[in-house]
Assembly symmetry: C2
Homo-oligomer: 146 residues x 2
């Protein structure tokens, strides 16, 4: 891990009142260096040898509560995690962008620029948040299968 990155992670932890620990830095580093959301199995596979499974579970839970990351359930119900944009806070997640779940590689992409269009709901339902997952074939897989 480069020092400049570590500094960034430390700031993030500090800002949220969390102690700087090796485990947390590792998780942040893995999540930061990927171009798609990271699945729980993948995380456990990579980090699980160094960090206990329960610790990983609690780190992810804490991060999500603090608004550091957000969780996306893919079409199989597998948890995927991605770093939140800067504007996210514990009480005001700005993660209502669209997610894309590739049927081939199973990756989950955050389409940060693609917002969920406004929706006309039936009367009586009070909307708090929305969660749109688009399924199909991602950029990478389309190219590789051509």
């Amino acid at each position: 891990m480069e020092n400049i990155k570590i500094q960034k992670y430390e700031d993030l932890l500090l800002k949220n009142g969390l102690k700087r620990t090796g485990a947390r830095l590792q998780v942040l580093d893995v999540l930061s260096n990927r171009n798609s959301a990271t699945s729980q199995p993948y995380l456990e596979n990579i980090i699980g040898k160094a960090i206990d499974r329960v610790t990983l579970y609690r780190i992810l839970k804490t991060f999500e509560e603090k608004g550091i990351i957000h969780r996306i359930l893919d079409n199989q119900g597998t948890a995927n995690y991605a770093i939140c944009s800067n504007s996210c806070t514990a009480h005001n997640h700005h993660d209502e962008h669209v997610h894309f779940n590739c049927n081939n590689c199973l990756k989950v992409y955050c389409l940060a620029e693609t917002k969920i269009p406004p929706l006309k709901m039936p009367a009586g339902f009070e909307v708090y948040s929305m969660n749109l997952i688009v399924s199909g074939i991602c950029k990478d897989c389309k190219q590789h299968t051509n």
Copy 2:
């Protein structure tokens, strides 16, 4: 179960090349008589005494593959099942309506009339299907808490 309903269920099974069995009729009956999608735990709780858990699992799996029901994962990742509209078939699910997950009673509603609005996707992503889950407070819960 009323005879007229049983007849309907039998037709549905027959149409999909499935044998008429007590277990399947029971599942169809439970799913048909509810105004929201039915969660796996609920199903298991109600039917699980009469039908083995694995049998229930396989029935649901078969039904989903045949397009008789569709599965909705709620915000906790719990599987919920609902009867498909008539226009569904195994290879052409017409279930791209919106689902509503109540934060209070945790029920999942199929908002059959609320369609997902068209979306502008980034280049390179090929869309097969979309899945929109809206969270909030449902009709019933709003009334009961007032």
